[in-house]
Symmetry: C2
Subunit: 214 residues, 2 copies
């Protein structure tokens, strides 16, 4: 649901479309997690994964911000995709093509099987199929990892696409207007320097990058 | 200077290199601005520009988060570039190639000539040379715009590149390891539907996109 805390200007850019939200959350790899500490606000970039109606986060049990979230701190998680530049005929009307979501709430800590499944989900979210290509996580690794879930209940979505709307007086002039799309792409896989000979690029990485199959 | 509030784990990933900070701030187009409101934390994505030893922000005078910053609220501004995926032999060692900066402080409000110059800087930061191709901002536009500056004094920088470090027992196995770079590129300029005939793509946009000159 939309929350009054979120920016309310330009209501045409607000959306309550859950499918659009999920598409954004499943596309963007990094979230910016904001919390209010005694010293002031803190915004941390982190990987995340959507699991149905919740967002999953993870990291070291020694991470201060994760421990604050595990203790029940209020959180704002913002996920943004930058899609292009709107080149208007004035600076005032120029802007970005973007999609952005803010999610609000408090996290819960996942344990045991649920935490183990979440760790596979983090892997497969970035590289679908990769979890099955790797050994399972060890008990020691799981013990060193804090896994949190934020329910997707309070959120807002904003976006801008298309072109800027210039006033008629500017449209009548000689200044160009348009947009420049921004695209993100995967490059060729780079083998690790310690990769032993004869080990091929796995299907998960080939599928992501479109690298030719051997 | 590094601030104790920021994550202090993995000190090898910390850097106090101001030139590296500036390179990141000049490359990434969107910052995530965090502030602590009475209702809880809020993280807003916004365009920004570096102007020497300060970051500039701007937006509508009706924007609640900008007005909170103008009133002197503590702020954390985080700027992140995602450079690739580190594909380790385990989920535990897998991660991202990234660069990220957190800046802390309070903003001041810019007015008159300083605000007008800042508006040109926002334009030229995204599209170098574009401000000179457009009409100047009007008094009405300037009056509707709030321009803020955050001094670059308290900040931290974190990054990860290269490859994951797998334990020897994993390196000895049959699992592939490497990295997949992530690249961002500009697409072909798209003329606005209301562009009048005979107006060419301007030099600023051609320079950005590498579009062929007419």
């Amino acid at each position: 649901m939309a929350r009054t805390l979120t920016p309310s200007r330009m209501p045409d850019r607000m959306s309550a479309d859950r499918a659009t939200l999920d598409e954004l959350l499943d596309e963007v790899l990094v979230a910016h997690v904001g919390l209010s500490l005694d010293e002031g606000p803190l915004v941390i970039p982190t990987g995340f994964a959507r699991d149905g109606d919740r967002l999953l986060f993870h990291g070291s049990t020694g991470s201060r911000w994760l421990r604050a979230l595990a203790a029940g701190a209020d959180v704002c998680v913002t996920v943004t995709a930058l899609d292009g530049i709107k080149v208007a005929r004035s600076g005032f009307e120029s802007g970005m093509r973007y999609r952005s979501a803010c999610l609000f709430g408090r996290c819960t800590v996942l344990v045991r099987d649920e935490a183990a499944r979440a760790l596979d989900r983090f892997v497969d979210r970035v590289l679908p199929g990769r979890a099955a290509e790797m050994r399972p996580s060890t008990a020691k690794e799981r013990a060193a990892t804090l896994v949190l879930a934020l329910p997707i209940t309070e959120w807002s979505l904003r976006s801008a696409d298309g072109f800027a709307t210039d006033p008629a007086s500017d449209v009548a002039g000689e200044t160009w207007a348009g947009a420049v799309p921004i695209r993100t792409a995967y490059g060729e896989p780079e083998p690790s320097p310690d990769l032993r000979p004869g080990i091929d690029v796995p299907p998960s990485v080939r599928a992501l990058t479109g690298a030719p199959r051997p």
